[in-house]
Symmetry: C2
DNA sequence: ACTGGCACTCTGTCTGCGGGAGTGCCAAGT
DNA sequence: ACTTGGCACTCCCGCAGACAGAGTGCCAGT
């Protein structure tokens, strides 16, 4: 049995009402609130079919219907229209983002903005090192046997590591090292650096070989291999909106998941397509987030993508609005990055 | 009427039992669990006095007693003995903190460790810039009209800002600027720099005056005036332990407070004495945190203090254990910083 | 294919009713 | 002057029963 247009219309109405009222929706109130042009009895028949097909369910006999994950999925894929942002929202975004002095600042403002606009939990990934290129490497002598290695990436990220040297190195040699390292690596994508770094060590005069090897290993280990992703999070208090009704009783599992960077990265960090991605309930593959949905997208200057951002909320969420907001914020942030 | 020893003993027993069981404690169960050597009736009389004095209260007639904020205060000040850490805990601390590569890493490990050991929300302040000295200032040319200013502080903090120059500056001049800036500022406490920075501008040759002024203003504005405090937070999921019983029903206000850096700084950022500080309920002066207590202390290499750390939990918390852990972690972190 | 009607089911709420825990007070004992 | 056992009292909590309300499924009629 396929679903005719009216049944789809009924599903949409159920989702919309349920999202708004947070209560199971019955046939009678449905026809009252939406001009469906048919009687409650007809709607009931449609509902029976929708339930059969797994798009809605009843919490208990003789309660109204509630969308299932599959129902939300269908709604998102086929039934929802893009909801344009209000001018007020656009202005809010602009006002919030101009005046950021710093990559840190941009990220923090963005995450707070997202949380505020969507009234949900927001996550923003810093531009990924793996997708960045080296703009400059700086070596700052801290003592004769210690260097601070500072890497500045084209995405604005700045990372630093302390390097313990095997032997004292005079200042002139540091200058030389700096020049050589930059000649080789500046402008390169971080992902392409490992062979180049190896080359640096090989080409090195025996006198500095040990020092350079040390530098190289720090570079590889901490910047490339364990490719240091950073995240910002905001709006956890929004989880408590709608009482404890969403999230089946306790926030605990959700809060726990939000503490795990690995999990968050998995949630927002699939940057392949430039499309916005919606993961509903079980779809995000994490037990703790069964009753949560994630709307995420990539951002970056121009068409390239350097990081992800998104929001997390109850499966019962305003998908069209959230999707529109996430997209808009991502675009603004991308533009902002492009200016630098 | 003053409180004799037995009444204090009764108060201590009430606090201990209530913290453990989370239930109002009655006279009968008290004498059963603690060898007080008197009958329940006597204890009841003592309780009446303690209630009169405001140290305990009854949730309702004919329920057991529960400590008030004042009761906890008295307990913390006079009744609790320091609870030494177990060897296992000491080992956990050491294992957790060695192998930190980075200030960021140290802070993150510390905050997670604190959250885990105390099973509460942990907050760690990065070493305060206001309490740091300049180790080195680096100027990295990004383009001819843009510099990246990187400041490395003796506490390990590294801050960077983009500086837009009023006019193109050739590389040699950058070298010169760098030398001059470092000569003047390296080794100085950040708090002392403003007049020195002004001096730098004044002493500058007219040709570079504009550039230096620009640099100076970035330095002053973003590093000194708005003295950039950073924080790390972990363990919010621990708020859900003990159900929604603590925190009078909703986590909302607490989560909201935890999102405000300003509030968190106020909570853990009173670094004057080297003593551990306990703020119970209303004492922390924040409406949202009426039902929360904060245990905080300063940390730093040796005797100096460069930042604060602490934990936040329900007023019904294991104070002796928490205090001991917070202190121990602060000491270990201080030692770790001293090594750099 | 849609609709009105009807019986049925289930929830949520309110009520009333012990059981239990704990208190306050009092009179007696040390 | 404390301390103690006894006792009446209060109030919470849990449970069972009743009831209204909402919503459904089904069926017969159009």
């Amino acid at each position: 049995m396929s679903l005719d247009d009216r049944k789809l219309e009924v599903l949409r109405a159920i989702v919309e009402d349920y999202v708004e009222t947070q209560e199971p929706v019955g046939s009678k109130s449905l026809v009252e609130r939406h001009a469906l042009g048919v009687s409650p009895a007809t709607v009931r028949n449609d509902m029976a079919v929708l339930e059969e097909e797994g798009y809605i369910r009843q919490p208990h006999t003789s309660a109204g219907r509630v969308p299932t994950d599959a129902g939300y999925r269908l709604f998102v894929d086929r039934l929802s229209k893009v909801k344009p942002l209000t001018p007020a929202e656009r202005r809010a975004i602009e006002r919030f983002l101009i005046g950021a002095v710093d990559l840190d600042d941009v990220v923090h403002r963005t995450v707070r903005l997202l949380a505020q606009l969507t009234r949900q939990v927001a996550v923003v990934q810093y531009p990924s090192l793996a997708r960045s290129s080296v703009r400059h490497l700086e070596l700052v002598p801290i003592s004769t046997t210690r260097l601070m290695l500072v890497m500045i990436a084209d995405t604005g990220r700045v990372e630093q590591r302390l390097v313990e040297l095997p032997e004292p190195v005079p200042a002139d040699d540091v200058t030389d090292l700096r020049r050589r390292v930059n000649e080789k690596l500046a402008g390169q994508r971080l992902a392409d650096t490992p062979p180049l770094v190896q080359g640096l060590v090989d080409d090195c005069s025996p006198g500095h070989r040990a020092t350079m090897a040390c530098l190289a290993s720090v570079l590889l280990e901490t910047l490339v291999e364990r490719s240091e992703e950073r995240l910002a999070l905001a709006g956890t208090a929004n989880l408590t909106r709608g009482g404890v009704l969403d999230f089946q009783g306790t926030l605990r599992p959700v809060l726990e998941a939000l503490e795990e960077e690995v999990i968050l990265l998995k949630l927002i960090g699939d940057l392949e397509p430039s499309k916005t991605r919606v993961r509903i309930g079980d779809e995000n593959q994490i037990d703790n987030l069964r009753s949560a949905s994630v709307v995420s997208t990539g951002y970056g200057p121009g068409a390239t993508i350097v990081g992800g951002l998104g929001v997390l909320g109850p499966t019962r969420m305003d998908y069209p609005g959230t999707i529109a907001t996430v997209r808009a914020v991502a675009r603004y942030v991308g533009d902002l990055l492009a200016q630098n």
